[in-house]
């Protein structure tokens, strides 16, 4: 848990663009709510790698939202089941059900569809909200956090040194 907080602080305190971090968190939300070995997750991973989003934030966020997904399972199941059994959508689902590409996605599972829909709906609000929060954090809290012992310990570590260099290459999301 402490390691996770330290990692989060590292990302927030780096020079990475807030929009790259928030976009990464948005993708992490969708990835976390979908099954780990899902073809859609592979597609998301491709997007995350090819777009200049913060990879550390993405992986950290995915781990976090995977945990959240377990708690949200009953809600996701309800959303998915309601959509899958909605009479007006039956034609659409039947067409998708008969398509191999969509069957691979396992869209007909209540938790998978519920997770996907919930993730997609929350994607934009989360990106905007996290973007605003990161900016406010950097304006008002960053200076104080940098003075804390934990942050000083982090910045003094070899790992941070490597991270800073890698971030410079663009893997951390920095331009």
């Amino acid at each position: 848990m402490i390691k996770m907080i330290a990692n989060l602080l590292k990302i927030l305190n780096s020079d990475a663009d807030p929009s790259q971090i928030s976009l990464a968190l948005g993708f992490a939300l969708v990835s976390g709510l979908l099954p780990f070995f899902s073809p859609l997750n592979l597609l998301l991973l491709f997007i995350v790698f090819i777009l200049r989003v913060n990879l550390s934030a993405y992986f950290l966020g995915t781990a976090f939202f995977t945990g959240i997904a377990t708690l949200l399972d009953p809600l996701l199941h309800r959303i998915g089941l309601a959509l899958l059994t909605a009479a007006p959508l039956e034609g659409l689902w039947t067409a998708l059900y008969n398509s191999t590409i969509w069957r691979i996605q396992r869209f007909n599972n209540s938790v998978v569809l519920g997770g996907l829909v919930f993730g997609v709906l929350c994607f934009v609000p989360l990106v905007f909200l996290s973007n605003a929060l990161i900016r406010r954090y950097r304006e008002h809290v960053l200076a104080w956090v940098r003075k804390t012992r934990l942050m000083q310990a982090i910045t003094a570590s070899k790992f941070y040194d490597i991270y800073s260099k890698v971030s410079g290459w663009g893997w951390g999301g920095q331009a």
Binding site: L42, L45, F46, V48, F49, I50, L51, R52, D73, L76, H77, G80, L81, L84, T85, A87, E90, W93, T94, Y97, N98, T100, R103, I104, R106, N108, N109, S110, V111, V112, G114, W169, G170, W171, A175
Partner: protein
């Protein structure tokens, strides 16, 4: 745009995918092994172990070796052990999340093998209800202490007699009140006076005759009204008296019923003696059937999917995983899971069976075919021939239709436990058995008959001395048996069925132990009768007295009716016979 694209990311993604795929290939066998163990454990409810799994990609196939399934009711043994299972998967359908296996080979299947260490039981088998447990316990063969028995058992007769006595008193009091409302001595005397006056008036000439006629009519009307009232009261009384007599008879019988009930509990009844097979072997037979029913329930997800249908779509709980899978109409319907044919070779202790199981799928409605199985024993070491055939038809989940037929001829039995009662354990040490089982199960009822004919039998009976002379007599009679037939009939609903066991051994055991049992029963009954009589004798006498009291009310009613009749007669004659009286 360029600001947002990270071309080196393409290399990173490719590397990530390559490493993941390489790792997957490296650990694929272990992953499959783990998945089989996990899915098997969830299905069976007890630990499933797999020694090795091997996956080939071209063509896509899986070979599993050393599969062991723990017996949930005996965790130190395997319910089934399979040396090797090999099958090929339809890779195209796998992309559609459909596991289609055309043919599977299962070799070296054995049952009841010992495990190196006890397996974990995830879902323990249900405990048999108390009623079923009793079937395996033998009744006490020793003479019980009647004083102790009476302390433990509640006698029903004293309370019943007291209640009957109270009822009689209530009735008697009610009739006493009713008698008060009927004509009493004064009323009858008044009638007599009026008749006397009527007679005197007749002597008073023509004028007297005129007034006497009117009086006679009034008198007749009054007498008839009272007679009607008395007659109605008499009829009601007779009904009450008959009910009271019946109650008294029942109350008189109640001590005898108490004696019989307690004696039945603490000794072997005549019915029990006539069917000792049920008492002795019922527990073991029930145990075998319970085991079969348990496995039927646990393997049910393989031939019937739980879920519900809403319009054109069906929700179904996947075998593993979260949520539910919603199934829609398919252009070319195929089950989600199907093993077309399993060619199996079983190796029980009896020898080698080969057989075929067809259409293993939880989606029988989609496939349109039921699960069938047929096994034949060939070249068996310990049996001449064996055939097992069956159908599990769950195409309509609400209308299941299952059937099984087992025929084994010349099976050489060794040490088969027939009764595990401590006081009288019985095992078939050796013998040749012909076994026939025919069973059916539908949505409402289950019915099966199992017949085992044993020749060249050597029954082994040991045990402690708790059974006393009775168990000794049974033991010596069973030791002389060389051939017998054991029959078990199963009837009832799938959830609550009854097993009744019968055998020609019943006669043998009855002949051997009948006199002992009767003697013991007579002694218990005699002592019980004496003790119950002491507690009920006085109460019975009081009750009979009450009945006598009620009967006396009937005597009074009779007297009253006779008196009224004679008054009517007298009144008629006093009117010179001119007035017709009833």
């Amino acid at each position: 745009m360029k600001r947002w694209i990270r071309w080196p990311g393409l290399i990173g993604f490719t590397l990530f995918v390559v490493v993941t795929v390489a790792l997957w290939f490296l650990f694929m066998d272990a992953l499959v092994r783990r998945a089989v163990e996990k899915a098997g454990t969830a299905l069976v409810g007890a630990e499933v172990d797999l020694a090795h799994a091997h996956v080939t990609l071209v063509p896509l196939g899986v070979t599993l070796s050393g599969l062991q399934v723990t017996d949930p009711s005996a965790p130190s043994t395997n319910s089934i052990e399979v040396s090797r299972i090999a099958f090929r998967l339809d890779s195209l359908n796998l992309f559609r999340r459909k596991v289609i296996i055309d043919e599977m080979a299962a070799e070296g299947m054995r049952f009841g093998t010992a495990r190196k260490r006890p397996g974990k039981v995830v879902v323990p088998p249900p405990k048999p209800p108390e009623e079923k447990k009793k079937g395996s316990a033998l009744p006490s063969f020793t003479m019980p202490d009647v004083k102790k028995v009476l302390q433990e058992e509640k006698l029903e007769s004293p309370a019943f007699i007291e209640q009957a006595q109270a009822d009689l008193k209530k009735k008697s009091d009610a009739w006493q009140k009713q008698m008060a409302s009927l004509p009493d001595k004064a009323a009858l005397d008044a009638y007599q006076e009026r008749i006397k006056k009527l007679k005197e008036a007749q002597k008073g000439g023509l004028r007297g005759l005129t007034s006497a006629g009117a009086d006679a009519l009034a008198l007749t009307k009054d007498l008839n009204r009272d007679l009607d009232t008395v007659k109605k009261a008499k009829a009601a009384f007779n009904t009450d008296l008959a009910a009271a007599k019946a109650l008294v008879e029942k109350a008189e019988r109640s001590p005898v019923e108490d004696v019989r009930r307690i004696a039945d509990k603490y000794s072997i009844s005549s019915e029990g003696l006539a069917n000792l097979s049920q008492t002795l072997f019922g527990g073991s037979v029930h145990g075998w059937i319970d085991k079969g029913v348990l496995w039927y329930g646990r393997l049910k997800p393989l031939f019937e999917r739980s879920g519900e249908k809403k319009g054109n779509v069906q929700t179904a709980k996947p075998l593993r995983g979260k949520g539910v899978d919603v199934r829609f109409r398919e252009e070319r319907p195929l089950p989600d899971f199907l093993i077309g044919t399993v060619k199996a070779s079983l190796q029980p202790e009896a020898g080698t069976f080969t057989g075929i199981i067809r259409n293993i799928t939880p989606d029988q409605d989609v496939l349109g075919k039921p699960l069938t199985f047929a096994f034949t024993g060939s070249g068996l070491k310990e049996a001449q021939a064996a055939d097992i055939n069956g159908t599990l038809d769950h195409r309509k989940a609400y209308l299941p239709d299952d059937a099984i037929e087992v025929a084994v001829r010349g099976y050489r039995v060794n040490n088969l436990a027939l009764s595990s009662a401590a006081s009288l354990p019985v095992s078939l040490q050796e013998g040749t058995m012909d076994l026939e089982i025919k069973g059916k199960r539908d949505a409402k009822a289950i019915s099966a008959r199992c017949v085992a004919r044993v020749k060249g039998a050597k029954l082994n009976t040991e045990g402690d001395e708790s059974g006393g002379a009775f168990a000794k007599a049974i033991r010596s009679s069973l030791e002389k048996v060389s051939a017998f037939t054991l029959m078990a009939d199963i009837t009832g609903t799938p959830e609550n069925y009854r097993v009744s066991v019968s055998s020609d051994l019943d006669k043998v055991m009855k002949d051997a132990a009948g006199s002992l049992v009767r003697e013991q029963r007579d002694r218990i009954e005699k002592e019980l009768r004496k003790a119950v009589q002491e507690k009920t004798e006085a109460k019975l006498a009081g009750m009979k007295e009450g009945l006598g009291g009620l009967g006396s009310q009937g005597g009074k009613l009779d007297g009253l009716q006779d008196r009224l009749n004679s008054l009517i007669k007298e009144s008629g004659s006093s009117a010179g016979g001119r007035i017709k009286l009833r």
